[in-house]
């Protein structure tokens, strides 16, 4: 992923360039992943109760606030889906791909990438231990999910560096998770 870059493209656009074919697949399956956001384990993770013991406050939150958060998350996913229709061969290397979109979509991208990572993790039950495995003996559902989580995390890290004004510090080292 040495060529992967998230950079300003003029004053009003952002460009992701140097996208390897496996990352293209990962991005194109983003929506499929996010469609599982309403499954039981993912839902509990994305819309947690605001308190541990106050049943009334939790019920009220799930009735009033959770739908608002869901709307926010779905809107972000839809924005990214529309942007991804602009994927095209990279200007500098046709074997790779690139995509450009308005600067104001950056938050939607970060939200959708993070949602997808959480949904993937919840759907197959990824633990902290799984996240630290570097060589899976069997390429099962869990292994594929961890690889995808790391790939999407790498792209998300580039977005965080961009908005934090740190994009020049970019390295190819994977970012640690919490």
């Amino acid at each position: 992923m040495i060529d992967l870059r998230v950079q300003p493209d003029g004053a009003k656009r952002i460009r992701i360039s140097g996208i390897e074919p496996y990352m293209v697949n990962c991005l194109l399956s983003l929506l499929e992943t996010l469609e599982q956001a309403d499954s039981s384990p993912a839902r509990e993770r994305l819309y947690p109760n605001p308190t541990r013991h106050d049943d009334n406050a939790n019920a009220e939150w799930q009735q009033l606030v959770a739908p608002e958060l869901r709307h926010l998350f779905v809107t972000a996913s839809e924005t990214v889906a529309r942007d991804l229709t602009g994927l095209q061969p990279d200007t500098h290397n046709p074997a790779l791909s690139e995509v450009a979109f308005p600067t104001e979509h950056v938050n939607a991208w970060m939200s959708a990438l993070n949602q997808a990572r959480l949904v993937l993790a919840e759907t197959v039950g990824i633990t902290e231990e799984d996240m630290n495995v570097s060589n899976f003996k069997v390429l099962d559902k869990k292994a594929f999910a961890v690889v995808k989580i790391h790939l999407l995390g790498h792209l998300l890290q580039l977005f965080v560096e961009l908005v934090s004004g740190e994009s020049e510090k970019f390295t190819d080292e994977p970012e640690a998770s919490l």
Binding site: R45, P50, N114, L178
Partner: protein, 96 residues
Amino acid sequence: MPEPGTIDLEVTRTKEDLNVPWNVIVYNDPINLMSYVAMAFQRVFGYPREKAERLMLEVHHQGRSLVWSGGREQAEFYVHQLQSYQLLTQMEKSST
């Protein structure tokens, strides 16, 4: 209407209740990037980078961090904001 022999108790928040601070707690999560969590703290609370990173590391090492304390309504607002970044966040009444 209450049945004969029963008394309806109206639950109200006393002045003392309203004065008890609420803590906003962020819990550890093996998936969220450390840099993403620190960014969320900076954006939601306006914390300087050093404080945001210190709280993020507290979450990472201790499993949870008290990131803000104050009135209930404001605590609810911050929980909402942090959950919009998909951070595992809850609020609890302060025991002090």
